[in-house]
């Protein structure tokens, strides 16, 4: 392959930041650091060329930027659209720089076409540094481990995942609707409520509490009395989360083995709980 010579000098970080899938066998030839996006790549080029960020040699930087992006293409790295967008921005700035400064005072004389990009770069750099500082802290779960008793709320023996949940669940939901005072009259006002939003709200709440009573779910994050629309969206969100195995719904059993008592929701253990949000993204 010939791109090696055209590639800018290797970054010292390269060894640590090899993209996944780059094996030791070909890694020595590639030495392409992985960047957190176009701004990160630009900061890298600025550091590499030892240029002043406020006085960017745009033509040079744009060219090197382009080389990196085509290299990433050649390597079949997933070049996200934002890299290409930045390439276009650089080309635009470059063309603006080539224009002679307009004589008529109509266009602001001092407006540097690079100004906005420079501001974004500096802003990004602040957070990049803050992120590095965060990563260097002593992290619980990585560097230190807490002596922490698990929350003392074992699952009562008589609670089991509800086998035939739907009837009991629908019945409970009907009670919620009735309690909300909904007359069944058509509601005209109100903003759209997305099931996806309510799924996030429910999962967020289940992250904070071990378990939540079914009827309380409908009171989460609603200002004022919940609308029928919100109630329905929330109910659909619960059903969807159950389907995704992210949430389990429980109801206590009476002595006779009949479902009895309040229905409760709980975050499910296992892979379902970790994959729920991937599914959320697909539903709108």
């Amino acid at each position: 392959m010939s791109f090696e010579s055209s590639a800018p000098p290797a970054d010292p970080r390269a060894a640590d930041l090899r993209p996944e899938g780059v094996t030791a066998a070909n890694a020595c030839a590639i030495k392409l650091p992985v960047f957190e996006g176009p701004l990160d790549l630009l900061l890298h080029l600025i550091r590499l060329n030892e240029v002043d960020v406020t006085d960017l040699p745009i033509a040079e930087i744009a060219q090197q930027y382009g080389e990196y992006v085509s290299l990433m293409h050649e390597l079949d790295l997933d070049v996200a659209g934002e890299y290409l967008l930045m390439a276009a921005t650089l080309a635009w700035i470059k063309s603006r720089m080539l224009l002679p400064p307009s004589g008529d005072g109509e266009e602001a004389e001092g407006a540097d076409p690079r100004a906005e990009l420079v501001a974004r770069l500096l802003e990004y750099q602040r957070y990049k540094e803050a992120a590095e500082q965060l990563g260097e802290r002593t992290l619980e779960g990585r560097d230190v481990f807490a002596a922490q008793a698990p929350e003392a709320e074992p699952l009562p023996d008589d609670e089991r995942p509800l086998a035939v949940s739907l009837v009991a669940l629908l019945e409970a939901f009907r009670r919620v609707l009735a309690k909300s005072g909904g007359t069944g009259r058509h509601e005209v006002t109100g903003e759209p409520v997305h099931v996806r939003d309510r799924m996030l709200v429910v999962m967020d709440a289940l992250g904070r509490f071990e378990s939540i009573e079914f009827e309380r779910i409908f009171e989460l994050e609603s200002d004022g009395p919940p609308t029928r629309r919100l109630l329905i969206a929330t109910f659909l969100a619960v059903l969807e989360l159950v389907r995704l195995a992210a949430v389990r719904v429980y109801q206590g059993l009476s002595d006779a083995g009949v479902p009895d008592g309040p229905i409760r929701l709980r975050r499910a253990e296992g892979p379902g709980a970790d994959e729920w949000s991937a599914a959320v993204a697909d539903i709108t």
Binding site: L39, Q133, R142, D143, V144, Q148, A149, L200, D204
Partner: protein
Amino acid sequence: MDRDSQKRIVEALVLGAPEPVTAQKIADVVPGLEVEDARALVAELGREYEEQGRAFEIWEVAGGYQLRTRPEYASYLRLLHRERPLRLSRAALETLAVVAYRQPVTRAEIEAVRGVEVDAVMRSLLERQLVRIAGHREVPGRPMLYATTKRFLEVFGLGRLDDLPTLREMEELLPPPGSDGGGPPPPLGAAAEPEEDDGGGEAPLELH
């Protein structure tokens, strides 16, 4: 109850609490103990552990106290824990940094700062309960607002959000005007007021 018995109860509370326990909570639980006493006893316990060379120490995180193993034993504990050890990618850390310093913040705002999409990484941060939904912004589309969680404070060992180091000012990132790099540092005596160093342990000055 004598002070020593109280101290042992405090020790038990810090050890056995399901989450960082506040001085107030300790005072509520231990008869005849004021909040100030609780703090003093916790500090005393901390010194004891240090003197005795124990493998753990007391941290003040998320507004409360917590016993944690000392960092030098991390490698052993990682082997012990069945779950994968905490790993935060650069993408996760950068996203967390924006959320932490700008909260409450929308996804679009985070993406504007980082210049990349943050959908996947936000989901992972939500799942790990480092970030939470903090309502909606009342603008068209009602975008969701994100904020950090108590768990975030715990993981990063912060007592409260204010304990985050201040974000560097833009001006500091720019080269000093009129210098081609490496101008003389300001003389030591020149600083009008000493910067308040609440970071501790950084030992800013060491003259030999």
